[in-house]
Amino acid sequence: MLAFIVRRLMLLVPMLLGVSMVIFFVLRLSGADPAMSYLRSANIPPTDQAIAQAEKDLGLDKPLPEQYVVWLTDVVQLDFGVSYMTRRPVLDEILYYLPATLQLASLALLLTLGISIPLGMWAARQRDKWPDFTVRGLAFLGVSIPNFWLGFMLVLLFSVQLQWLPPMGYGDLEYMILPAFAIAFMSLCINARLLRTSMLEAQGQRYVLYARMRGVSERRVENAHVLRNGLIPVVTAAGMHIGELIGGSLVVESIFGWPGVGRYAISAISNNDYPIIQCFTLLMTVIFVVCNLIIDILYAWLDPRVRLGSEASA
């Protein structure tokens, strides 16, 4: 297992190198001009002289390969450069904003699992009855509703109409509930539907039938055989959900004035603030890869067939 983890972590190095190259050159292929964005944001007329000065200030006056090498050399030393707009070190800013996003994403993950598992179990146990139809309808809604729209609707209802929760801002749980729910809604709906399907599938398996024939109590059959096996695809999906939840925070943070890294990245994208976009992309790559690794480990722990299989082949 340790060798597996080390191998996966080693793979991260060429992956990050590839991602760094792709993001660096794709950004510059887009035809956008950060020097122009910088001057317009500063209300400075973009004369040739002003553009040349801005390009020099932002380090854009050198050939592209040279810019890449300079940037990469700095990145290896964990220096991600300075934001074009705020003129502050990018890594400091991203690390400043990241905890808020992780806080929000964690609560969203908690909501996703905490709500989807009971819902999925309920639907599976009440197959083709009204709870099942409700959950299936909800899943349909969940994948169709964009999270930013849901965010606005939640604010309208809970903040403007009922005045139960603050509409925006950074703070305790009361500030987190609405944005976390807006982010989590899609994932929890998908998860509930997935669990329902996989539990129904497990119910038809021979080991469940044999367990029942052995006279094992229905409660134990449900929990030890159906639910445990049904949960395996949910764990796999959770790995992807973490990505979705962090991705979802990109837009939702802007709506709720949540000072996270998503909102920071969105404004960087509209300002063509390359150092931030590059750093953000690399950071997200690391987070995705590490989360998926954790899920793989969890998967092996949960399903002996995977664990024993890999040990047998080792």
Binding site: S30, G31, A32, D33, P34, M36, S37, Y38, R40, S41, A42, N43, I44, P45, P46, T47, D48, Q49, A50, Q53, M85, T86, R87, E93, Y96, Y97, A100, F152, V155, L156, S159, V160, L162, Q163, W164, L165, P166, P167, M168, G169, Y170, G171, E174, Y175, S254, I255, F256, G257, P259, R263, Y264, I266, S267, S270, N272
Partner: protein, 517 residues
């Protein structure tokens, strides 16, 4: 439900701002509040903390502020300012001629950054005449000197003790210390800025103790924060509030709303240097065929008014009787017909000598208002047989196309008070704006540039008026521009802030003038 709601509300309590505060919002933090720098310093906040020598009042009048009076030498090269003697910085330091000179010297030490501004380009040196008299020596006469001294940056004044010990303010300041009615108490990155009253303020103290400015990037989220009471003021140009939301709030008795006088113009520039907008008849026909009133009412709910000319009449030197291009599809069709653009049988669009009447209109893709206007123009012009192709661009590419003349028609708003008209027309001479490229095909281009150069150094008001009349009349007759509406800054406040007051420029938000009822 009501009981449940009350119980829930009692269980939780979200921190409200102090009752005696203005709760505004902005899309980003106010920045380090360096008076001599641009990004990431936000102009609304710089204007709260730092003050100018003279101030821009409605209609373009320049009024005394930190300078009580001034004298301009006959050759227009020396400006002598007599400063108020009762002004202190927010740290108690005296504001005097030495402080004025120290600030100008900091700006001049970083002149590369500011040389686009006529005032800085023409400034030779600063002389301290006595403790409260300071003189600006100019290289050449430059009449908009006073107008540009009203700008929010780069020549407002910070305490010399807060300037860096080495280098210049271009590399940062120790702390933001100004003479303005407010000073910053707290700034939390990504969350908020808090301003409190300056205890040493020389003028009337603001009625409110505090201005809280949470960071809210999204205009719809801002509207919801306003409705739910998190903020009590929305004020500012595009991006602060959408026309739909403003219109909704205007009809809500709980809120007071107001609009500033016209402060700039939504206008499109037409390229006289490439076909088919190269032809005067086509440009005039386009001006006749666009229904400005429908745009003002339909898209902006009457919060902006239809613009018959490049500048509104309240802009200095722009109160001219220019014959409007009234909305008439018939006139537009006649102009096109007489210029040889005909609709062949079965065709929807006109053509001449085998060339179709295709015109590309470029807009900034993220600007919902520009998109809506572009679509109306497209529909209007279709009625007279002009085929408009819409091209949405990312922001920097949009401005690049303006600068490089890669357009038939492109959005190109005027810069607004206090830049209009002098800085806007000044920019027409350099290849950095759509105006220069749009005008290149005019045979009068060299005359226009010459008049602009003359007007900027003219010391005689009536001569300036004559020159401005020539410039604006020529541009109007040549139909280089398609003015659409005059922009007004919208403001919405909760009743607790008292009557809403609107500022005289795009950048000043008069927080100090709010008084609770």
């Amino acid at each position: 439900m009501r009981l449940l709601s009350l119980a829930f509300a009692a269980m939780i309590s979200f921190p409200a701002w102090s009752a005696n505060s203005i709760n505004f919002s902005w899309s980003v933090n106010a920045g380090p509040l360096n008076p001599h720098q641009t990004n990431p310093n936000q102009m609304y906040a710089q204007a709260m903390v730092y003050e100018p020598l003279v101030r821009y009042a409605r209609g373009g009048k320049v009024t005394p502020w930190l300078a009580e009076k001034w004298q301009i030498s006959a050759d227009g090269k020396q400006y002598t300012f007599f400063l108020r003697e009762d002004v202190r910085f927010s740290n108690g330091e005296q504001f005097d001629a030495a402080a004025v000179k120290a600030n100008f010297d900091q700006v001049l030490a970083n002149i590369k950054k500011h040389s686009w501004l006529g005032l800085i380009k023409q400034l030779d040196r600063i002389e301290v005449v006595d403790q409260f008299v300071v003189r600006l020596h100019m290289k050449n006469a430059y009449y908009p000197t006073l107008q540009e001294l009203t700008l929010v940056r780069p020549v407002r004044f910070m305490a010399p003790s807060a300037m860096p010990d080495e280098g210049h303010t271009g590399n940062g300041i120790k702390q933001p210390v100004g003479t303005g009615p407010w000073m910053r108490q707290e700034s939390v990155l990504g969350q908020k800025d808090v301003f409190v009253r300056n205890p040493y303020y020389w003028g009337e103290k603001p009625a409110f103790e505090q201005v809280n400015v949470p960071v809210i990037p999204d205009p719809n989220a801002r509207a919801l924060a306003f409705e739910s009471g998190t903020i009590n003021l929305i004020y500012g140009f595009e991006g602060q509030i959408s026309p739909d939301t403003f219109n909704r709030f205007r009809h809500d008795p709980r809120f007071s709303t107001d609009l500033s006088e016209p402060l700039s113009t939504r206008v499109l520039a037409m390229n006289t240097n490439q076909s088919p907008t190269r032809e005067l008849a086509v440009r005039q026909a386009i001006n006749h065929a666009v229904n400005r009133e429908a745009i003002a009412q339909g898209i902006f709910y009457g919060t902006e008014e239809a613009a018959p000319s490049l500048f509104a009449r309240n802009v200095p030197y722009a109160d001219l009787d220019l014959p409007a291009y009234d909305y008439s599809l018939q006139k537009a069709a006649e102009l096109l017909e007489s210029a040889g653009w005909k609709v062949l049988k079965g065709d929807q669009y006109r053509q001449k000598n085998g060339q179709a009447l295709n015109v590309e209109l470029v807009y900034y893709g993220h600007d919902a208002n520009q998109k809506a206007i572009a679509e109306v123009i497209q529909a209007n012009l279709k009625q007279v047989g002009i085929n408009i192709a819409l091209a949405a661009e990312e922001r920097s590419r949009f401005y690049k196309r303006q600068k490089n003349g890669e357009f038939d028609i492109i959005f190109n708003n005027t810069w607004g008070a206090p830049y209009d008209p002098h800085a806007f027309v000044s920019g027409m001479r350099t290849p950095s704006h759509a105006d220069y490229e749009a005008q290149l095909g005019l045979k009068q281009k060299s005359d226009i540039d010459h008049w602009i150069t003359q007007v900027l150094k003219s010391q005689d008001d009536s001569e300036r008026q004559t020159l401005y009349s020539s410039i604006l009349t020529t541009l109007h007759e040549q139909a280089v521009y398609l003015p659409v509406t005059y922009l007004r800054v919208p403001g919405v406040a909760k009743k607790e802030l008292g009557p809403l007051k609107m500022g005289a420029t795009v950048f000043d938000i008069p927080f100090e003038s709010f008084k609770p009822e």
